[in-house]
């Protein structure tokens, strides 16, 4: 039965010529409008319901991530790496608890029996042997894995945050700002950073953490004031000169002078703020009150996170900048600009998510390199310190007794090598999967 219809524009009655009709033309006002009525006798069927594509497979649209995941699964080595990492992660997080549950011993397994205070080779009871204090090496390796993985992951996150913001801002703003920012990266790149990390760790590490506490209020205030001052300076600079290009030499010179003055002012402000906070004596009283309660081993590990994170952001910044440069002239950025999205919004909501592929790949490859650095520092006695252990420090302990108790070195060393191996394979696989263009054939 046909419905009585009226034209949505002028209200004049319209008639349908047949039941399948979808559009009607109003003879009164000449407007075309869509017909919306339900035909109970001839319901519209979907393709499956009508049985047209009964046997034909439904095609699903391929998404970037779905495609990448499929490519990754085809890479057997990467999958192997993923599985090994998953097992390692599980063992390291839940392992010590299970170990304690089964054996009824503490995670370190310190024997009460004095006769056990020597290093035993691997046996059924101690699958990786014991060290010369009688501690089970398997348990130590599980405990050490927590710290090794934590250092690897958290330092990578630190480098991710710094590198992505820095690279994205430099790449998007472009021009002289980009130039200055990337020159700074070049300069830091040329510095043998490991020397600086060694000095940093030996200065603030170990029992010297008090100094860090004492300086903490000054540092925090300095950073806050610094960021605020930089934003203000940026705004001021924009306000003064707008986005116009300089027309002649005098204007350029003027801008240069103002830029330098603003930079000096920012640094002076940071210095003054930090100094004033230092003068109030908050830091000293904090240090006096809390220095006994600070866990030196843990604070050393936190220091490691930052020291390693802050030196490994350089390549990340370069990678991100390159991506942003190739993205920023595309239409979706123009659309965002036209709809009035702020610079900050464009960078972090539109550009960064689109540059995520290489960032993920590069962070997977940063984790093993950071873990290697951590092991290296622990080996030198500057990294993780007793009673805490990491794979690096365990291997370093093992090196001392290599000729007599080789298992003390071999098990932590092999565990670490296995993890790094898996991470590297996973990183390579991810690069091939997410970035097929740079695929190494």
């Amino acid at each position: 039965m046909l419905k009585e219809l009226s034209c949505p524009k002028c209200g004049a009655p319209v008639t349908l010529e047949n039941e399948r009709q979808k559009l009607v033309l109003c003879s009164f006002c000449n407007a075309t409008s869509a017909v919306d009525f339900e035909d109970r006798e001839h319901p519209r069927l979907t393709l499956e319901e009508s049985g047209v594509i009964d046997s034909v497979q439904r095609i699903k649209g391929a998404s970037l991530w779905g495609d990448a995941w499929k490519r990754l699964l085809k890479n057997r080595l990467a999958v192997l790496g993923l599985v090994v990492l998953a097992v390692m992660f599980f063992l390291v997080t839940v392992g010590p608890a299970i170990f304690t549950g089964i054996t009824g011993l503490t995670a370190d397994y310190i024997p009460a029996d004095g006769n056990l205070l020597k290093s035993f080779p691997p046996s059924m009871r101690h699958p990786m042997g014991t060290d010369e204090a009688g501690r089970d090496i398997f348990a130590r390796v599980l405990q050490g894995g927590r710290i090794s993985l934590a250092v690897g992951i958290i330092s990578t996150i630190v480098s991710l945050i710094v590198g992505v913001s820095y690279g994205a801002v430099a790449g998007y703003l472009g021009g002289s700002i980009d130039n200055v920012m990337m020159r700074i990266v070049d300069i830091i790149y040329a510095i043998p950073y490991i020397l600086v990390v060694i000095v940093l760790l030996s200065v603030f590490g170990g029992p010297n953490t008090q100094v860090l506490i004492q300086w903490l209020p000054s540092i925090i205030v300095g950073i806050i004031v610094g960021v605020a001052a930089m934003l203000a300076a940026f705004w001021l600079y924009r306000r003064l000169f707008g986005e116009m290009t300089a027309r002649n030499l005098v204007e350029r010179l003027l801008r240069f002078v103002v830029g330098v003055l603003v930079a000096v002012a920012v640094f002076a402000l940071i210095g003054a703020a930090s100094y004033l906070v230092g003068e109030t004596g908050i830091g000293t009283s904090l240090a006096e009150r809390y220095s006994d309660r600070v866990n030196l081993g843990l604070s050393q590990i936190f220091l490691l996170f930052f020291a390693l994170g802050l030196v490994s952001w350089l390549t990340m910044a370069r990678v991100v900048r390159g991506q942003i440069l190739s993205l920023k002239n595309q239409e979706f950025v123009l659309a965002a600009k036209a709809t009035g999205v702020s610079t900050f919004g464009i960078i972090f909501k539109h550009l960064v998510p689109n540059a995520l592929g290489p960032v993920i790949v590069y962070s997977t490859l940063t984790v093993p390199s950071v873990m290697l650095s951590e092991a290296f520092l622990s080996y030198l006695g500057l990294g993780v310190q007793a009673p805490y252990a990491s794979w690096g420090s365990l291997a370093a302990d093992g090196v001392k007794n290599i000729a007599i108790f080789p298992w003390q070195l071999i098990f932590p060393g092999v565990t670490m090598a296995l993890t790094l191996f898996s991470l590297n394979f996973l990183g390579d696989g991810l690069r091939d999967a997410l970035d097929p263009q740079t695929r190494k054939f």
Binding site: I187, A190, I191, V199, V203, F204, V211, V399
Partner: protein, 315 residues
């Protein structure tokens, strides 16, 4: 730039609590004051900084000054002295420059041989992998390279010692001596760079072999060897050359570990000792020296791009 590094290092050392004359016993105040006076530590910090900066860069020498530290030049009638880091605080009577000069050769020899070995082995493995792509050689050398990347050198070193020195008695386990003593440290140090270089060479060569100019060279009728050596290799090793910069910085870290494992009296060991001893002039001297060295080598690397790839031009 080097001055920046020196300033940061100096600042860090200064902030640190504890001094080089710290020991178990508390010193009487009079002696402490004397020590401070001798090393100029009684002056305010900015005066100390500028004195340090003056010594490190250049200053005119006093008429009666006779100690010879750093480099000396004659400018006009006055003598100018540069790069003077003063005497070490721990090793009394020895200047920083002397210490660096004495210990540098050990590190330099190991470092240079290791890098050359890595270049030869890694380059050959990468080339082989690229030319016989997807063959057993390819997979074999790439698996080895991955292994080289994943085994920390302070694990590899002792294991090599265990097998070749303590197990098979083929080479000495440690210390500086003949050529045989060099083998293990050099192999340990070069493993990771060989691995990197093999991967970079393979990737670079594969990309270059597909490029248009190689097709042109083949189309001209050049034989395969000429194409490979004269055309492809030049473009293919550019990634390897750009890796040299980061590799140098990492080589420094590597030598520290290797020197420690094999008890070699090189610069890396001295550096760690100086940091732990709070031997400020020595730390500063080594940091400044190595930074300048790395920066110079980076500059050479940048310049060499132009020779390798004629498409790269500097304005």
């Amino acid at each position: 730039m080097a001055l920046l590094v020196v300033t940061v290092t100096w600042g860090l050392i200064r902030i640190a609590p504890g001094t080089f004359y710290d020991s178990e016993k508390k010193l009487p105040p009079a002696i402490e004051a004397n020590i401070k006076k001798k090393y100029g530590l009684d002056k305010p910090w900015y005066t100390q900084y500028f004195i340090m900066l003056g010594n490190v860069t250049c200053r005119t020498m006093a008429e009666d000054e006779t100690t010879i530290n750093g480099l000396q030049f004659n400018v006009g009638s006055s003598r100018v002295k540069c790069f003077d880091f003063g005497d070490s605080l721990k090793y009394e009577g020895q200047s920083v420059n002397e210490i660096i000069r004495r210990h540098l050769p050990y590190s330099a020899i190991i470092g240079i041989i290791a890098y050359l070995l890595a270049l030869v082995v890694g380059g050959a493995a990468g080339l082989l992998a690229a030319l016989r792509q997807n063959s057993i050689y390819d997979y074999g050398s790439m698996a080895l390279a991955m292994l080289g990347l994943s085994v920390p050198n302070f694990v590899l070193g002792p294991i090599l010692v265990l097998v070749f020195a303590l197990g098979l008695y083929l080479v000495p386990a440690a210390r500086w001596g003949g050529v045989l003593n060099l083998i293990l440290p050099v192999v340990t140090l070069s493993a990771i760079y060989a691995a990197y270089i093999a991967r970079l060479t393979r990737a670079g060569m594969l990309e270059v072999m597909r490029s248009d100019y190689i097709r042109t060279a083949r189309a001209k009728g050049l034989n395969e060897t000429t194409v490979l050596l004269k055309h492809a290799l030049r473009g293919g090793i550019i990634p390897v050359v750009s890796f040299t910069g980061p590799a140098l910085a990492a080589l420094l870290a590597g030598t520290v570990v290797v020197e420690r494992i094999f008890s070699i009296p090189g610069l890396g060991n001295i550096f760690i000792q100086s940091v732990l001893n709070r031997d400020e002039p020595l730390t500063l001297g080594i940091v400044a020296f190595l930074s300048v060295l790395v920066m110079l080598l980076n500059l050479i690397v940048d310049i060499s791009y132009g020779f390798l790839d004629p498409r790269i031009r500097y304005e």
